[in-house]
């Protein structure tokens, strides 16, 4: 990348990175526990699922879409994984089942958006409710707990001091960053978000591109569901509620324009870190949970306003 220094500092990724550093300094000065190994590990473990899901969400938002059903999909794949775990299925089968569950719903979302031409917010809002209600039926109000320890290594194991789930997240991020920049389908995702008509005229297969981003998001969220079970060992009917907002916040804060057409997966990872650090620090500072929403909400609004204002100058 041959970009000048000025260009780098103007990038959203830089601003977010700066904020993360500043907050990390503040929290390590004001609290004793922030810099402790257990707290930082905890932070990374919690972030892994969000970061993995944000890969897919970044692509969805770049196409100009949105997926608010990821929280319900996470819940559902956790239930599937949890039930199979309790029945002592081999790990490979459980992994496959969790991912397949996510893929199924993601494919359904994508089909309705791509072929049905229904606005993504409506499709995924519908799915959010449908899946959540199925989940109630499946669990019948009970919890799944007492997950066998074999699987928990995915959630809690470490390598070189960093949780295995975070390693997996980083590998996926590297792979899909490469994918987004260097595969024709990745380029098509940007093209669709920039100008869907021009993409069509340029020979881009619109339905395939749109179907892909929702299906991939489903798969990745399905995998995040498995990580969730492995980490907490518990699945409830409300598992994953509100998760969609966390993922969307990470993506939007990370510089992906809610208007579509631009954004990076690395930005979303940084966005996830920012959200995670804010939450973590405020807990350590004993700030009431209500103010956490206030801070994150304000940050999201600021970044969207910046996007919208900037987009005015980018019209042709």
């Amino acid at each position: 990348m041959n970009m000048s220094r000025g260009q780098f500092f103007r990038k959203r990724e830089f601003t977010v990175l700066g904020l993360i550093v500043v907050l990390a300094i503040i929290f390590s000065l004001t609290t004793e526990r922030f810099l402790s190994v257990s707290n930082l590990t905890n932070l990374l473990v919690q972030l892994a699922g969000t970061a993995i899901s944000a890969i897919g969400m970044t692509m969805v938002i770049i196409t100009g879409g949105i997926d608010v059903s990821v929280g319900s999909i996470l819940g559902m794949s956790s239930v599937v994984a949890g039930k199979l775990l309790m029945a002592n299925f081999p790990v490979v089968v459980i992994l496959g089942a969790a991912i397949a569950t996510g893929l199924l719903f993601g494919f359904f979302n994508g089909s309705l958006v791509a072929y049905g031409k229904i606005p993504p917010i409506i499709v995924t809002l519908g799915m959010l409710n449908i899946i959540r209600s199925l989940l109630f039926q499946l669990l019948g109000g009970r919890w799944i707990s007492g997950v066998p320890p074999a699987i928990r290594v995915i959630g809690l194991g470490k390598w070189l001091g960093i949780p295995i789930s975070m390693w997996i997240a980083l590998i996926l991020i590297l792979f899909f960053t490469y994918f987004l920049n260097s595969r024709p389908l990745g380029r098509a995702i940007y093209a669709v978000g920039n100008n869907i008509e021009a993409a069509r005229v340029s020979g881009v297969n619109l339905t395939r591109t749109i179907l892909f981003v929702y299906a991939l998001t489903g798969m990745l969220v399905g995998f995040a569901g498995l990580i969730y079970v492995a980490r907490t060992g518990i699945v409830q009917t409300n598992t994953g509620t509100g998760f969609e907002l966390e993922v969307i916040a990470a993506v939007v804060l990370g510089g992906t324009s809610i208007l579509g057409g631009k954004g990076t997966i690395v930005g979303s990872l940084l966005g996830a870190f920012l959200v995670g650090i804010i939450k973590n620090g405020m807990v350590l500072l004993n700030v009431p949970a209500l103010s956490e929403g206030l801070v994150i909400g304000a940050l999201i609004l600021i970044s969207v306003v910046i996007d919208v204002v900037r987009a005015r100058g980018e019209r042709i």
């Binding site: 260097s182 380029r187 021009a198 069509r200 340029s202 020979g203 042709i316």
Partner: protein, 503 residues
């Protein structure tokens, strides 16, 4: 008859282009004053100034002998100047009555809308024009275009308009609706309303106009009473002494056609269209906006489907159901509006260009070979003289001419055999325009079959080896470059059938 509206010395420019140069125009009450001219002659700009959509750079407007500033369409309407556009601007969900009184409802003393009074008044307006009014309560969206137009005329009367502008009102009307419209215009004229009537159909003008003003290149070229002028004279003035030097060409046209279109029809768009494209030639397509030119080429490119007729490409009948398929057969299409169908504004120049040929520069694992991509991008930037800091520069920041070159580069990247160019130099500066013209000639010399649509007559005359002229979805003229005159082309484009070369 007194003058109701007068425009004196009005000029207007957009960027560097002078759209109106000191135009004088006078409208008397009770006359139908036709305004004619080629595309780009300045008619629309003049109308926009009169109706408050644009402010003039210089000049004065007098309304009822008073100097006025018309700074918004609403002000124009309140003063008594109404415009009825080709495709009526209406609120589809509201009824005719609501459309007429929107923003100035008749109210009861306590403020609620007096529906009954509004409806009565509307009925009275329609009755005074001798029109039926059974449809007044239906949503506008469910009325035909003809009826929507009537509602807008009634609205103009509700504002007690003294000037009504009709912009191509008959372009999408049926014959019956057209007759009814002419009846109404006659009635309006008898009431003393001044009417500005824009149409490309010269026969209509001779039927209903009292006077005609001919414009060309932003200037008024003549004002006549309809009795003292004939069709040929008007066409001559519209065309001007157009001396266009044909661009120099080296290549030779081959004898076997590359693309043959046979009796292609699509309901409501075009009918029975046949033509051939040979390798090494530039086939110019001339016609007014709405004549079906773009629909035909989009059908060839797989963006639309014909109802009947065949497209034969390199000897085989083809049906492209998507641009992707057309591109696989080496057909490329530069769309009419780069903003709508051409550019990816917040992507870099390089990504904009390579999107059409990524599949050809894949390495292992289906990954784009970035070096190859960069080399191809740089090659096009050089060849087309695209002025950009680098390949990463986002295209929204380039000038119109350079943006257009980026879109052209994108299509050259597919190494097409048939290149369809829809308005290749629209909104492009003079220097870029001549560069694009030279490029097109060069591509034809290399053996590409080029179809070039343009609304600009000089461009068509300069570039084309043969010229196909369309009018309302039909081919009305085919000319060889040697024998084509500006006047003949305009005649064909305004509806005279002049097919001089059959091949």
């Amino acid at each position: 008859m007194e003058t109701v509206l007068e425009v004196r010395g009005v000029s207007k420019s957009f960027g560097g282009v002078q759209a109106l140069k000191g135009v004088n125009f006078a409208l008397r009450s009770g006359e139908v004053h036709a305004l004619v001219g080629e595309n780009g002659a300045g008619k629309s700009t003049l109308i926009k100034i009169i109706s408050g959509a644009l402010l003039p750079d210089r000049g004065e407007i007098f309304y009822l002998d008073q100097p006025v500033t018309i700074d918004s369409p609403r002000k124009a309407q309140e003063m008594g100047i109404s415009t009825v556009y080709q495709e009526p601007l209406v609120y589809n969900e509201l009824s005719a009555v609501e459309n007429i009184f929107l923003g100035r409802e008749i109210r009861k003393p306590w403020g609620s809308i007096d529906w009954k009074a509004q409806e009565e008044k509307t009925k009275a307006l329609f009755a005074s024009l001798g029109l039926p009014y059974h449809f007044l309560r239906e949503p506008m969206g469910e009325l035909s275009v003809g009826l929507q137009q009537l509602v807008l005329i009634a609205k103009a009367l509700a504002y007690e308009s003294k000037v009504i502008i009709f912009d191509e009102p008959t372009a999408i009307l049926t014959e019956h609706e057209t007759e009814r419209l002419f009846d109404i215009i006659t009635k309006l004229r008898m009431r003393g309303v001044g009417i500005i009537y824009i149409s490309h159909r010269l026969e209509e003008i001779f039927r209903i106009a009292d006077r005609v003003t001919v414009m060309r290149d932003g200037e008024v070229r003549g004002v006549f009473s309809i009795g003292e002028v004939n069709r040929d004279r008007i066409v001559e003035l519209m065309a001007g002494r157009l001396l266009v030097e044909a661009i120099e060409r080296k290549g030779k046209k081959s004898d076997a056609p590359l693309l043959v279109v046979e009796n292609l029809s699509k309901r409501g768009r075009f009918s029975d269209v046949s033509f051939q494209v040979f390798p090494g030639e530039i086939l110019g397509f001339f016609g007014l906006v709405g004549s079906g030119r773009t629909d035909i080429v989009q059908t060839i490119f797989g963006l639309m489907r014909q109802d009947s007729g065949n497209i034969i490409y390199q000897g085989k009948t083809v049906h492209f159901s998507s641009p992707e398929e057309a591109m696989q057969s080496d057909i490329a299409y530069l769309p009419e509006d780069r903003k709508v169908q051409g550019l990816f504004p917040i992507l870099g120049v390089g990504y904009n260009i390579s999107i059409t040929f990524l599949k050809e520069i894949l390495g292992s694992f289906g990954v784009v070979r970035e070096k190859k991509e960069r080399n191809r991008g740089e090659e096009y930037v050089r060849r087309l003289n695209i002025k950009t800091p680098n390949l990463k520069t986002k295209v929204y920041s380039l000038s119109g001419g350079n943006q257009q070159k980026v879109v052209i580069a994108k299509w050259l990247g597919t190494t097409p055999r048939v290149l369809i160019l829809d308005e290749p130099t629209r909104g492009v500066d003079v220097a870029s325009k001549s560069e694009i013209h030279n490029l097109i000639a060069h591509l034809a010399d290399e053996g590409l079959g080029i179809v070039m649509i343009s609304s600009e007559l000089p461009e068509i005359l300069k570039m084309s080896d043969r010229i196909v002229v369309m009018h309302e979805g039909k081919i009305t003229g085919v000319f060889d470059r040697a024998e084509a005159t500006a006047e003949d082309v305009i005649r064909a484009a305004t509806g005279e059938r002049l097919i001089s070369v059959e091949r």
